[in-house]
């Protein structure tokens, strides 16, 4: 469903992705790991179309369509969801109204009617229970005054509600205590479906104790240094990342510390 060919991307003058080749089939879960600054978050954000990243080379196909030519909202309606590392606050924008607008935009794209408000509230409650989120949040402004854990649960709730074909989770595990981590992992596991694919971006192996990926890829200096199955994650936990650095040629340009 997702094919990435020789993808290069920069922030301003700084090159971050340097030729990524990568394929995800329907129903697969891929984990992308790597040290800080390796470009793993950039990769997820480039797929979602975050404007500060510039694609300088390469091609990305989603179900055969040219993903890079689509605006971020079109990508979302085509089924790409990014659970963000730092969800931004939207003052004055009610959480439930925001999510209804999002769901309706996606439904409209599929040629469906807007969801009835009562059906929506019921659906929101179900999905909220799934990630054990405080129901009071639904009446608050988007992400405003949410704790770190609540923001992450909220991202998973949104993913469950919008039912993407391709879910990108950008360090959703960072900053979570073990209970929250289990809940988040549980939420992700419930979404797994033969039609849907997941890409997990993570720095630590611990999330992979709860979500078992089909493939693990290690990103170093903007390239995939090694791919394997879930055992690779355990190997990384024991050996760190340095042993992989020697396997790719050294790079002379800045490696882009700003892009974790």
């Amino acid at each position: 469903m997702l094919e990435v060919h020789d993808l290069h991307a920069s922030v301003g003058e700084i090159k971050i992705l340097r030729g990524i080749n990568f394929t995800v089939k329907k129903g697969e879960t891929h984990a992308i790991m790597g040290p800080n600054g390796s470009g793993k978050s950039t990769f997820a954000n480039v797929l979602a179309g975050r404007p500060e990243y510039t694609v300088t080379k390469g091609e990305v196909l989603l179900d055969g369509k040219n993903l890079l030519s689509m605006e971020p909202d079109v990508r979302a309606r085509e089924g790409v969801f990014l659970a963000m590392q730092y969800p931004v606050e939207l003052p004055g924008v009610r959480y439930n109204q925001f999510l209804k607008a999002a769901l309706d935009a996606i439904r409209e794209h599929k040629g469906e009617d807007q969801i009835d408000i009562r059906a929506f509230n019921q659906l929101l409650k179900e999905k909220g229970d799934l990630v054990e989120i405080n129901p009071d949040l639904m009446r608050r402004n988007v992400n405003e005054g949410f704790s770190g854990g609540e923001k992450k649960r909220s991202e998973i709730l949104q993913m469950a509600l919008l039912e993407p074909h391709l879910a990108l989770l950008d360090e959703t595990d960072s900053g979570l205590d073990i209970d929250a981590l289990k809940t988040v992992a549980d939420g992700v596991n419930r979404l797994q479906d033969p039609e849907k694919s997941v890409i997990l971006v993570t720095h630590y192996q611990r999330l992979l104790n709860y979500i078992s990926p089909d493939f693990v890829h290690v990103l170093i200096d903007g390239k995939i240094a090694k791919s394997g199955d879930h055992k690779l994650a355990l190997e990384l936990e024991n050996k760190g990342y340095d042993w992989l650095r020697e396997t790719i040629p050294p790079v002379s340009e800045t490696s882009g510390e700003s892009a974790s």
């Binding site: 991307a9 605006e71 971020p72 909202d73 990508r75 939207l90 924008v93 925001f98 607008a101 935009a105």
Partner: protein
């Protein structure tokens, strides 16, 4: 709008060419129009056209003579720029003609063209179809067209009629209150208005009556080259309550039009007046041609003990807005509120804010002003909180938030605070922000279009103000905001 050099960047180039002012049509009715220019004869003509009693003409003439002396005193302190106004090139009286050259006595006598026009503006004047729970006084150019639900209100002793009618039918109230809040000598534009004011609304709520419906005046400029100088007076007698709404539009005209209104509110003991405005005068085109100059004096006097006056305004129109709805907090324990959203786009300029003058003991005022600037527009909040020596225990809270869209617009905050009583408590908060790329991306990543995301974020910014509006007005305010923002994100 993909940037051709970089498919991953959302272009923020504005496409304001597409912007339309959908209220910009002209209404084709015959009008009785005075010759251009201003002199004593014109003042007399206006008074005569309205069959006013001599005391009213006298008042107008006093104002006119004073205004002539003030000719060099047109205010220049506001942060707005415009070519000097030629006061001899304006029509001071224009009134839609009716069958017998009189104000229509019933809807049947109103020109169907005009009824249709108001309907098109969303203000049906036929009571069967009228907005539920809203009594409307429709004013076009210099005259009130009709007032709905008048009889129903009369049963409760509420007077709601055009200002001209009030002069005829309730002279004692007009004499008692006219100019007591905004004297004819108040300022250049108020003095001009006092000389040539045409029509407007009058409302009186008797003691202890809670007005069961919203009272609304809909102002419409139609005639080319005409100015609109309406005057509104609302009196809430002891223990009464009224919610009053004001809406305004004007056709698209290449030349700028002057609107200089005066609004006076009086709240007696335990009375409350809630005054809401949706101001959507024609803002001019994208190059700053045309548009209404909105130079308005609005002031309320919370005269009685425990009285309350609340101004809520959503200002999206006009080429220039110069307006400071204020409250004189005279009664002990009286309170004043000012909630404002001022949105400027393209070449619009707004200098707006409020004055809260605390005189009585334990008086309280709240100011929440939200300014939104887009295009090449300039937005200024100007406010004065004044605590007089007598205002023991006065409290004020002020919050001014500015939101910038794009990098060619400006936001300015000019708060003045004068405290002459040491027991006063004053709080002032101010913020300036932008719709961030992160916020836009977050919304768009959930499937919401760029335009809708922008609207959603800005609507959120205005939430604290919109929630103060009556429900139907709040919906309309949201729609106005949406239209005014069109083209601010690509």
């Amino acid at each position: 709008m993909t940037n051709p050099n970089n498919p991953n960047v959302i272009s923020r180039q504005s496409k304001i060419d597409d912007q339309e002012y959908k209220w910009g049509f002209t209404i084709d009715v015959d009008s009785d129009v005075a010759p251009k220019g201003l002199n004593e004869d014109i003042v007399r003509l206006i008074s005569e056209k309205k069959s006013e009693p001599p005391w009213m003409l006298e008042w107008r003439l006093r104002a006119f003579r004073l205004w002539e002396k003030m000719r060099d005193e047109e205010p220049e302190w506001a942060n707005v720029e415009y070519p000097s106004i030629d006061y001899q090139d304006i029509i001071y009286y224009a009134s839609p003609l009716t069958k017998d050259n009189d104000r229509p006595k019933s809807l049947d006598e109103v020109d169907p063209e005009m009824l249709q026009a108001f309907e098109k503006l969303g203000i049906p004047l036929n009571e069967r179809e009228a907005l539920a729970g809203v009594a409307v006084d429709a004013v076009m150019d210099s005259s009130s067209v009709t007032t709905t639900f008048k009889e129903k209100l009369e049963e409760l002793g509420i007077i709601f009629c055009s200002f001209s009618e009030a002069i005829q039918n309730h002279p004692e109230l007009i004499k008692k209150y006219l100019g007591t809040v905004v004297p004819y000598s108040d300022n250049f534009f108020a003095t001009l208005n006092s000389a040539v004011f045409s029509d407007g609304s009058f409302a009186y709520i008797p003691p202890g009556v809670r007005c069961p419906m919203e009272l609304m005046t809909y102002f419409r400029i139609n005639e080319a080259d005409s100015g609109q100088f309406e005057r509104t007076l609302i009196i809430a007698d002891k223990g009464s309550y009224v919610s009053y709404l004001e809406g305004c539009t004007a056709p698209i005209r290449k030349k700028s039009q002057l609107h200089a209104a005066v609004v006076e509110l009086v709240a007696l003991d335990d009375a409350e007046i809630k005054y809401s405005t949706l101001q959507n005068w024609y803002p001019g085109d994208k190059d700053g041609q045309g548009g209404v100059y909105n130079f308005v004096t609005k002031r309320g006097k919370a005269q009685g003990i425990n009285s309350k006056i609340s101004w809520t305004q959503v200002e999206t129109g006009s080429a220039i807005t110069w307006k400071y709805p204020s409250v004189i907090l005279q009664g002990d324990n009286s309170s004043g509120e000012f909630y404002s959203v001022a949105l400027v786009n393209n070449h619009q300029q707004a200098d707006t804010g409020t004055k809260m003058t605390h005189i009585g003991k334990n008086t309280r005022s709240t100011i929440i002003a939200k300014g939104i600037s887009a295009g090449k527009a300039e937005n200024t909040y100007r406010g004065l909180v004044k605590i007089m020596p007598s205002a023991e225990g006065a409290k004020n809270f002020t919050q001014c938030d500015s939101l910038l869209i794009g990098d060619q617009c400006g936001a300015h905050t000019v708060p003045y605070i004068e405290v002459k009583n040491p027991t006063a408590q004053i709080e002032h908060e101010a913020t300036t922000s932008k719709v961030s790329d992160d916020q836009l991306f977050y919304c768009m990543q959930r499937g919401v279009s760029a335009e809708e995301s922008n609207y959603m974020i800005i609507n959120g910014f205005c939430r604290d103000i919109f929630k103060e509006l009556p429900f139907e007005f709040a919906v309309e305010a949201g729609n106005l905001l949406r239209v005014s923002l069109e083209g601010t994100v690509g």
